[in-house]
Subunit: 317 residues, 2 copies
Amino acid sequence: MSVFTTVTPDDLAPFLKRYYIGQLVDLKGIAAGITNTNYFVTTTHGRYVLTLFEALQSSDLPYYVNLTAHLAHHGIAVAAPIANIDDQYTDTLNGRPTLLVPCLPGTVVDEPNVAQCAQVGEMLAQMHLASRSYPAHMPNPRGVQWWADTAAEVMQYLDADTAARLQAEVDLQLRQDYTTLPQGVIHADLFRDNVLLDGDRIGGFIDFYYACNDALLYDLAIALNDWCREEDGDIDRARAEAMLQAYQSVRPLETAEFAAWPVILRGAALRFWTSRLLDFYKPATGEMTYAKDPTQYERVITHHAQRQDFWLTPAPV
Amino acid sequence: MSVFTTVTPDDLAPFLKRYYIGQLVDLKGIAAGITNTNYFVTTTHGRYVLTLFEALQSSDLPYYVNLTAHLAHHGIAVAAPIANIDDQYTDTLNGRPTLLVPCLPGTVVDEPNVAQCAQVGEMLAQMHLASRSYPAHMPNPRGVQWWADTAAEVMQYLDADTAARLQAEVDLQLRQDYTTLPQGVIHADLFRDNVLLDGDRIGGFIDFYYACNDALLYDLAIALNDWCREEDGDIDRARAEAMLQAYQSVRPLETAEFAAWPVILRGAALRFWTSRLLDFYKPATGEMTYAKDPTQYERVITHHAQRQDFWLTPAPV
């Protein structure tokens, strides 16, 4: 259930008077999402998504909201936030900070094809370039140190072999310095369920609430680990090549990024291995049903560690 | 022909590198429009309209461009301009100032129904409200004095009866003071061909290049004179009532506006009677084929002058 705060048409009517989007026709809670409350709002003008923020700090909201406005302003496929009568993107409803955006075309695709992975890679690169002129900055709250801290927190629940493998991965990542790679704004959670696809075309990237400033290559690794992953945690070569080639058609990787690629792929997997372990062994109240299988990303790392070929063509110079 | 400046794919490729909208797939000149050059640009991301401004002063562009950005920012159905790599909405191609916007859904409807007229009225009112916070200001270059000057310029070509009727209308309008009515940003040319309709829903208002600051009621009169007009220049009651009621559901008219309504309807018609007379008798080079029948708006005025009922309910208090 993703409706934590109930909104009735009677609650919404005075709220909508603060916007220029027509009269309410229909209101429906959205079941997806585990952090915020979301409603489909249909008006005489069209269909919108209303978000009520349940957990985010109000002070963090401008980073995410202005980022999507900035990206939309540059034509990146994201839902542009709609400003209210006071020219503000965020408002308040039933005691929660809110955001109103238009519905984007497309749906979530569970089994993406090669063309779709290419489109995601291409749009991600465009997003990375378009956000270079975004002035705000937020350090990654879930960077390498968070992986290490989280691993330490769950270590007690793991069998000895798994614990050793986890510790070895943490140690490997702590030895890296990704700050020397090209930095910028990253989505940091560009999984299949955060992209709407309209056929092979990107309807939109959604859910920017993990966005932050970090190595761009890390964002690409997160996306590839999900979009090109097989059930067993291995990576599908055709999809990976397509995604990387499309990404590089917009932003060619630098030599240092070629060198970092095999290890940052494991770092991007470790990010979700540790967070899923945490969700599994120490779930926050009410989030039990959303704990995803942590071993999925353990398997991704195992495959990456044995890999000889990382689908990068052309080879680094 | 609306392609005054030719653009080839080779011209466009380096230009598109200054945007984040994907790679060029197709380029096609648009036949509609009489002032600027327009192309449909299809990229891997979607479909866009590229405008090359042929006549507008570059110094005037920010008023129009920032206005559509402001309206889009508030969720009004307009094509939001796309910013380039330098965060600018306008760029240059083949020596012309340019603008790039996404294609809007919908098509031009030649014979609008009652529901469509209501939607146009409602969105127009929302547009009027949303632009209250738009900071720029441009006086109407085609206000009452322009009607008078233009009438004087074409008077010599008219038969005595028509000339007398035109002069009487000009004199009537010169006696009015519309500056005491609620003022704001108006579209000033919201004819059927400047609205895209997606079924009964507004896909978007387009072509804001006559937009300026003037009496809001004048904008409504221009729209009604076109959207609700029959072939013979009379107004269709059902469409007029629907448009006015929908407009007033968002912005109820004030007492002074009720009083001004019968005469401003004639002013809004005089605006196009005079400009069409000018286009007809003194066409600009190359615009001959676009001269529209001036007598159409003469007939609108004749009907308005004989009318007892101006479709306004509730009646003014």
